[in-house]
């Protein structure tokens, strides 16, 4: 089963007077059609390119009840499914409860995971559900390439999760790959891993968001690699999902399948673990914060009345790009990619296939914005580089069944001089 791959439309060819669907989307929909909800900033991994700079849980994260009320609201708004992520969403103790709650309220769930909690039993449970989709992240088709980005042991963890899902009979899981300079030549191998697991491959673009800003220069595909990627995607067609990620590559030739539109604040948005709503999953920054679900009257209120979203739904000029013959297909590329590389939003994408991004990146005046939120682990997680030096002890506790009975009297002090110290006469 697949969730939305690409929206189909049924129009009225002969009497079509309506504007094209993309133009409708640019003005925004009554509710998002692609909503990402990050449940926690906590994560067992520390991927170098993490979009949300995750690692540590935020103490302000939404409670179970608050999450349930968001689901109620999504049901009322007819948001038919959400993409749940994090952090690692499955480390939230109420994750499985919220999953069931959503499905029971006609809000389907596709959740992204590094696989840490997908053991054989969970895989069987997932295979028994309808309306739940699982997406396992993998950034290398080999452990060497993957673990360099996602951390030691993460390849084995993801493959174990995929094996468990396959064994349990879960059909059509997704394998989500962020395309980098080091894995772009492994696309056929990724496809083979997906095929071997009865899964669908999903490729997405490396964004300089979150910790991605630190590694973007060294990890984003080179120009030649982008062309190879584009040609690979054209050959793959709709058999490989992209989440409309690569529309900036359309400048190489024909459009890729998908909307070829920046959906930020129009058909897409992000709810973060503390209830902040951002324009898209790649824009966790104060500049793109539309409001907060808790303090601004709920999700529908933020979606409908946010000033930021209102601006994003206005017609956008092409700026420096409008003179380019490819602007109609690439639409100037990705807002987040421009913002987090310090480029003007109405200019070329940093990975503009016509090379205009290169020139823009060379501008000496360019400054890269600082992260406005960082939940990174303060140090590498245990086992990554060195052991964590701590000692665990247990405290005697009256509630513990094995605890010895409390002594009848305080212990005798070393300074007690009385010859009868410590002697309790029998009664």
């Amino acid at each position: 089963m697949t969730l939305l791959t690409e929206p189909a439309s049924t129009g009225l060819a002969a009497t079509e007077r309506a504007m094209p669907l993309v133009a409708r989307f640019e003005r925004g929909l009554a509710a998002p059609i692609c909503l990402t909800w990050e449940l926690t900033y906590a994560c067992n991994l520390s991927c170098v390119h993490c979009l949300s700079a995750s690692g540590r849980r935020d103490p302000r994260e939404l409670s179970t009840e608050q999450c349930e009320s968001i689901i109620d609201e999504l049901q009322a708004m007819q948001v038919f499914y959400v993409n749940v992520g994090g952090g690692e969403p499955t480390v939230r103790p109420d994750f499985w409860h919220l999953l069931e709650y959503a499905v029971n309220h006609q809000v389907g769930v596709k959740f992204s995971t590094n696989g840490v909690r997908i053991d054989a039993a969970r895989a069987r449970y997932l295979a028994s559900t309808d309306y739940v989709d699982v997406q396992v992240s993998l950034d290398g088709a080999t452990a060497a390439v993957n673990d360099q980005v996602r951390g030691e042991g993460s390849y084995a963890m993801a493959l174990r999760a995929l094996d468990n899902l396959t064994t349990a009979g879960f059909r059509d899981a997704k394998i989500s790959v962020v395309v980098t300079r080091h894995n772009v030549d492994q696309l056929d191998e990724f496809k083979r891993i997906a095929d071997d697991h009865g899964a669908t491959l999903r490729l997405t673009r490396l964004r300089p968001s979150g910790r991605g800003a630190d590694v973007w220069d060294e990890l984003h595909p080179t120009h030649d690699q982008q062309r190879d990627l584009y040609e690979w995607l054209v050959r793959a067609g709709e058999k490989v999902l992209t989440g409309d990620s690569f529309f900036h590559l359309a400048g190489f030739g024909e459009k890729l399948p998908g909307l070829n539109l920046c959906g930020a604040g129009r058909v897409v948005c992000l709810i973060d673990p503390v209830g902040d709503v951002y324009a898209c999953p790649f824009t966790i920054h104060e500049t793109f914060r539309a409001g907060n679900i808790v303090t601004d009257g709920g999700f529908a209120q933020v979606w409908r009345t946010s000033e930021l979203f209102g601006r994003l739904r206005e017609p956008q000029g092409g700026g420096a790009c409008s003179a380019c013959q490819h602007y109609d297909v690439c639409r100037g590329g990705c807002m987040a990619a421009k913002f987090f590389t310090g480029l003007p939003l109405d200019g070329p994408d940093p990975e503009c296939v016509q090379g205009y991004g290169q020139a823009a990146l060379a501008d000496p005046q360019r400054t890269v914005p600082a992260l406005s939120l960082d939940h990174s682990h303060r140090r590498e997680p245990a086992g990554r580089r060195e052991p964590v030096l701590l000692q665990l002890g247990t405290r005697p506790d009256a509630a513990t069944p094995a605890a010895p009975a409390a002594p009848a009297a305080p212990p005798v002090s070393a300074c007690a001089e009385n010859p009868l110290a410590g002697f309790t006469p029998a009664r």
């Binding site: 929206p7 189909a8 439309s9 009225l12 002969a14 009497t15 309506a18 309306y131």
Partner: protein
């Protein structure tokens, strides 16, 4: 089979919104979501949405079109659109109540 025959068949048939489908109103028309195959389909005209919503209460598609105020000269293109919606299982041929299979759908629309 000629196009006219197909058009007549579509217009003469009794239809209903598939029970797996929910319609979400949008400024341009509606977004239809199919809970079974999880596809989104956009109905880009409000008149079409009105027709689709009226199908279940009409003896045939012609009646639904008339009730929605669609001019007769547009019925051909509406019939084609309905055919497309039927192919996507947004609408289904309506069977007499007694013959409706029970519990066929997993998710309520």
């Amino acid at each position: 089979m000629s196009t006219d025959t197909l058009e007549d068949q579509t217009l003469d048939a009794a239809w209903e919104l598939s029970r797996s489908v929910a319609l979400r109103p949008e400024s341009f028309g509606a977004l239809a979501y199919h809970f079974g195959n999880r596809r989104l389909i956009f109905l880009k005209r409000r008149e079409l949405v009105e027709v689709v919503r009226g199908l279940g209460d009409a003896p045939d598609a012609r009646t639904a079109l008339r009730r929605a105020g669609v001019p007769a000269e547009q019925w051909a293109s509406f019939a084609a659109a309905l055919r497309g919606l039927a192919d996507a299982d947004v609408i289904r041929p309506r069977q007499p109540a007694a013959e409706q299979p029970a519990g066929e759908q997993g998710e309520p629309g």
